[in-house]
Subunit: 633 residues, 2 copies
């Protein structure tokens, strides 16, 4: 491990490189207070208990999270990639330098419990605030963020499905951050196809079970942060039905815990086989865990494990969407600093920096296209995430107040939005991160400059928690076709309304682009809507129509969603500029207007290429015989 | 270094993983003998001296290159990434295990000289054959391939511009492979903007110069393969004009060489400052070289160094295009093997493998889309490269036979094609390589499975030898606008002819898709053609129109070029199938037909998204003030 002075040296080197992370607080405040009315939103949630999310509290939370991310987490990021995690025994994994101290500071500040119930020691604030906070830590240091992120998934799962005994036993420690949590799903042979899970759970009485089997790809499955770790494990009871309907969920701690929550020093038979050597994410250990008669409790109902685990999976999918957005933001910040500083070539319009050896590369159209794309994904992705986070708040609120129908309505909306967020933002987040290397040129390929690490770290985002391909099938197959198109009808209905409202808003008369953008949003929404019907009609005679359409459909949905956010943001910015065209925030608002122009003219047109792919002839994808792919190899 | 037995163990592990590389010889023969008539082509070149490229000789060369690549190079690839290169002193770099032995075998077989003149010990075969060979070694082991690849660039540069003294002094050893070559362009402050080169060359009489300065990013700048290394170095003579017109090119050996070519043991003042720690390409050392009064000779004419260096750069750009294609091919082979083997989920059509726990993932539409895209890029990219390679053959042939006008015509055509090959194939090659991770799922992120290495290795391809953005400006600005649109008029003329010929060919009546594809090719060619005029018109009043259009223009050009190749290939395949619908090659030809269907229905439509980007309002890219990109950061 690095000494304290080595960490300080690494921090100084990091700041010299000009890559100091700066939390985008102004943009978050724009979303909270201008695009949305968070004061009113949080006012509505007041009764859900806990601290009140007044503007002051929100501001304090963002400020403190920003400081922690900028000063504590960001400087650890490069060394965590270089040094990684080391396994030193069956139950010992050493995390990167500084990670543990940062985690203990995080816990001491009570941050893990921010959005969880007071009943278990949390602060009871809305989840949307916790997501703002996650983005800040994720951009500063993605792999560190995974540790508290996985605990959140375990907490949500226990809150939703755990009985009183299990919840009392574990939730206090998870919410305080004294212990962390993991999700143990995959096994060597089954990947995302959890119907093939073969880990066994044998009842031994007293509500206890013996768990035996091997799980792989367990993020943060072992570490040196805390005294204990709670594994949430999928396993099969004896005589359980085959396939997905025979899987149950169990709570399996690393060290045994008394029923009253007292920690023992007795290991529970869960050992680490190895940690994986990966492309990136070196700061978080990816573990193979062997459960050998480990004792656990049932979470929720027998054979409903997959249903319960989806609480965890959906938490992680939202976290992964943030991973995509954070990679874009991190790469954008580094690229922008570099593009302002680096001199190369002259502008096609003639020298823009005649006193210098060359012009800064930000003058070149092709470099600006990279930076503008990154800005569109970072800020537009942020707006997408927080839009959904508010739906999550409303759902939680309805559940607390006992309005089941309303909770279900919000839950369904969130279920519709989640695959778009996860699938789309990880794909475009990777693209935006890759652009960072392009802006840096050859220097981007050198590890010490940091932008290639962002690419390696985010590459897993479109794979884990269900690949983009699985998100796409979830969206089009499960969330739309199985619901008989109701969610898309409702969603597009909302988009038409938004487009019309922007089209007719007073600001649009001054900023002509808003009218044109509103018309474009209406058009792509209608294309999306109509194409859904076309696919449904084709699928009536051939289900493969759904498979063929799914990935371009998901991407189309993502670009429309970004258009929705950019139209909303530029409308607010236009109004603010009309009111005060030369105020201190004018550059900020002009940035929104110009980025929206870039988005609608240069990014949204990608939908024109996706449209024919969604309805490509089924045969053009399905007809190739397996033998014809590469017949001589 | 690994011992021989360790190398054997690594080779065995490699084969167990099922990632054994299989040279796509059938596909190469298809291009050589069916799509093109290589026998006639090579017959025409007979008089250029050297061995005759008869079908037997060609076949022997491909077979031997395949064996060498499959058996010698591919097994070294994984360890070269893991172990990398190590600098042990100012003039000592240890290459990865097995690299040197493989190189010595390559040299012993006379492979370095394959396409170079007999006069200097080469075999005088056409360059197109050497490019086929490069693809085989590049897919098996990219970083090993860089060593002989850079020598080729140095050889071409000396052949084209070196005087008799310099050529005699170095070419024999470079062509035999006893020495290797490098290109020394970039310096810490200048990247691709070589106008900023500040390395100094001071004449000391007798045709000798003292070279002083620091070069960075010198691939294979130091190694343990050979007794000497020849650096081709850009530097400024005293009183040279400022900028690009004041740069000259020098030959600077690592060890001093007598004028008669005798090697001395006197170092020449060129030392390695460091080797870079990179995202990938660990098998090839990227060196900082400090020239401290190193003695060299002028290559070519004073102050024409950039012109001369373009011979090297163009060789490297073609090599980099092959890097993109090779990454796609390597990832495709691994992905296909995995997709046939890995069981997950059931087909939307119902179980296709009812006896197994699940269906192999190749049944799923979204997985097939990944594999088909990889096939389209690999085989279509190969066809693009060899089409250009033939133009290169014809150019070399015309030069040898003294037909300067014809040589110039072919040279100009190659100059037009090169940025498309380099820019487009590296971008889609990276995309195809990334799909390998997607097919493997979480396992694709684990280093030992090999597909993530392909992504890391190829990521530099769209950066070095001029970024995609620079290729795009080269194509649209220099190669088209500066030539007053003549090259695009000629090129599109050829495309219209090809489309019409396929549209009216007899095979098209049986395979209806050919008619439709021919019509699509005609349409996108016309769009490309017409949009060029539109951009030219806009650029008349605002040069930024070129910058804004350039990258989508380059990508559009690439997709049209792939369409051209796929139409050609499916036409040949259709004819072969009509003749013999059930022969042993039927699966191979059906693979071409189905891949073409996939390409035209699922990939070419991307052009619809690129079209509006090419003519996006200039303001949508250029208007954002620098202060507005991220005003609060």
């Amino acid at each position: 491990m690095l000494s304290r002075s080595a960490i300080q040296a690494s921090r100084a080197a990091f700041q010299r490189r000009g890559m100091a992370y700066k939390a985008p607080l102004r943009d978050m405040q724009f979303l909270l207070n201008e695009v949305n009315d968070s004061a009113a939103h949080y006012e509505k949630l007041k009764h859900s208990g806990g601290d009140e999310a007044t503007p002051d509290v929100v501001d304090m939370i963002l400020q403190e999270s920003a400081k922690f991310s900028e000063n504590e987490l960001a400087p650890l990021n490069e060394a965590s990639d270089r040094i990684g995690c080391k396994q030193t025994g069956p139950n010992t994994v050493i995390t990167p330098p500084g990670f543990k101290d940062a985690y203990l500071n995080f816990v001491a500040g009570g941050w893990q419990g921010l959005s969880f119930p007071e009943k278990y020691g949390g602060q009871g604030l809305p989840n949307s605030l916790a997501l703002f906070q996650s983005e800040l830590t994720a951009t500063a240091n993605w792999t560190w963020t995974m540790f508290p992120g996985l605990s959140k998934g375990a907490i949500n799962t226990l809150l939703a499905h755990g009985d009183e005994l299990v919840s009392e036993k574990y939730l206090h420690k998870l919410i305080s951050g004294e212990w962390t949590g993991t999700m143990c799903l995959t096994e060597p042979h089954c990947g995302s196809d959890l119907a093939q899970v073969s880990t066994k759970a044998e009842p031994i009485g007293n509500g206890k079970y013996k768990i035996t089997g091997t799980k792989i790809f367990i993020s943060c499955g072992e570490h040196d942060f805390t005294d204990n770790i709670l594994h949430c494990v999928l396993a099969r009871l004896p005589n359980a039905p085959a396939g997905i309907k025979g899987i149950s969920l169990f709570s399996v701690p690393k060290f045994k815990v008394e029923d009253d929550g007292t920690l023992t020093s007795v290991l529970n038979g869960a050992t680490i086989g190895r940690i994986e050597d990966k492309m990136g994410c070196h700061g978080s250990p990816t573990c193979e865990i062997n459960f050998d008669g480990s004792i656990g409790e049932l979470i929720g109902t027998e054979n409903r494990g997959m249903n319960h685990m989806f609480t965890f999976i959906n938490t992680s999918r939202m976290g992964t969407a943030i991973q995509g957005l954070a990679a874009s933001e991190g790469s954008f910040q580094a690229s922008l600093a570099y593009a302002k500083d680096r001199l190369a070539m002259r502008s096609l319009r003639g020298a823009q920096n005649p006193g210098g050896a060359a012009d800064p590369i930000i003058v070149h159209a092709a470099v600006r296209q990279l930076l503008l794309f990154q800005k569109c994904i970072s800020e537009g992705g942020r707006a997408m995430v927080y839009d959904s986070a508010y739906v999550g708040d409303l759902m939680a609120d309805a559940a607390v107040s006992g309005d089941k129908a309303l909770a279900k309505k919000h839950d369904e909306r969130l279920a519709f939005l989640t695959p778009i967020l996860k699938g789309f933002l990880t794909e475009v987040g990777l693209e935006a991160a890759n652009m960072g290397i392009q802006v840096y040129g050859g220097h981007g390929y050198i590890k010490s400059n940091g932008v290639e690490q962002i690419v390696r770290d985010v590459r897993i985002a479109s794979v884990w928690e269900g690949t983009t391909q699985i998100q796409a099938l979830d969206l089009l197959g499960r969330k739309i076709m199985l619901q008989k198109l109701k969610p898309i009808n409702e969603h597009c209905g909302g988009l038409y309304k938004q487009a019309w409202s922007s089209f007719t808003s007073p600001a649009s008369t001054k900023y002509g682009s808003i009218r044109s953008h509103a018309a474009q949003l209406a058009k792509v929404s209608a294309q999306w809507h109509a194409t859904t019907y076309r696919i449904a009609a084709k699928a009536g005679s051939n289900k493969d129509a759904i498979g063929v359409a799914s990935v371009p459909y998901l991407m189309f949905a993502g670009y429309v969603s970004l258009a929705e956010q950019w139209l909303k943001m530029e409308s607010v910015a236009a109004k603010a500029l009309e009111k005060n065209p030369t105020g201190p925030d004018a550059d900020f608002y002009l940035g929104k207007i110009e980025a929206a122009n870039f988005y609608f003219e240069n990014v949204l047109p990608r939908t024109k290429g996706l449209l024919p792919q969604m309805t490509a002839p089924i045969a053009s994808v399905m007809n190739m015989k397996v033998e014809s792919f590469a017949p001589t190899q």
